[in-house]
Amino acid sequence: MEKRIFINCTKLIHELKHTNEIQQIHSLALDISDEKCENGLIEIMNKITDNLTFNYRGTLFYACSVYDCSDYFSIIISNIILGPYETAIEAYNLVLGNIDYRKISKDTLRDSIQKMSIFNSELDHVEIIEETVNFLKIKRDE
């Protein structure tokens, strides 16, 4: 069983790495998430940071929700700021539930709060930015 998942994961990750089709990227990211493939997060994050997926990242962030995303905290924060709405919502959900805040330094939290306080003028998802700032402040003060 484990071997099957491993082979399947290797194939899925390889395919994700080499496709530029948004439709396929979404579908593969969800499959990788379903299998909870060990190295899946790295490849999904690679796609998230690819300009190609701008405006299509909501599902990709959703696919990350089975992983510990602490190593990608800054990417997540940037996408909450940049949006669009669905992306910001899914990224915000990762901030709430998929970050181990023991791994995030107080300086990083402070920087993120500062960064978001400056850029919180995007009308469509300003509430998400504000909520993220509120949440990070709680974490900063803990």
């Binding site: 405006n55 009308l123 509430e127 509120n134």
Partner: protein, 235 residues
Amino acid sequence: MDPLAEDFVGWTPYHYVHQNPINLIDPTGMSATTIDGEDIIVNKDSKGKVTGVERINTGELTPNRLFVQDPSATSETPNRYERNGKFYEQQMIPSSEYTEDDYKPMKGNLNNPSQFDRDRYDYVAKSGVDYTDSSWLSRFGESMMDDPVTSEDIQSVISRRKLGAAKFTSTLGAKKEFQGGKQKDRDKTIFNYPQEFRRWFHRQYKQSGDKDATKDELQDIFQEWQNMGSPKSRK
């Protein structure tokens, strides 16, 4: 002799915080600096007469906000904030609703106020305050007691802002708890959709390759999902 005079060419040495005491303070007399966000709370009696003004420094770079007591409001009244058993209506516009461009002139040239500054000037000027006077803080409170800013005054400021700002009111639900000052105690908004909806949305409703949904689209889809009896994803 002002040691920083060269930094402020074009300004008379007799001005205070670039004639902008609403946004700036100058505790050392050397140069102006921004102030923390502030909540201004206007209390009224049952007849609607202003009885007092409180100011709470949030200690953070938050937008200034104005809360005016609504004596007729109850816990059932929508869009009211509760504090110490009293209900308030938020009337000031959060600066977060301005775009980045609205702030830009402030950074480069203090002689040329930003849109945000201009709106704030108009807003305070209507309350009868000479905002070029450094004692404006206390006088602002006094003038509010004599002649509080009306909702029409505020509307006239709102109307000059970007249309998107109107969305602010739609994000407020029914009764809200207002603790005053601390962001972490502020309202929860409705955008935190349940996990089951998100699963259904990404795996069943949305087709692979679809563009990200906008706020309005997502709200409509959420409504649709609820109308369908909140089905679980088959995938």
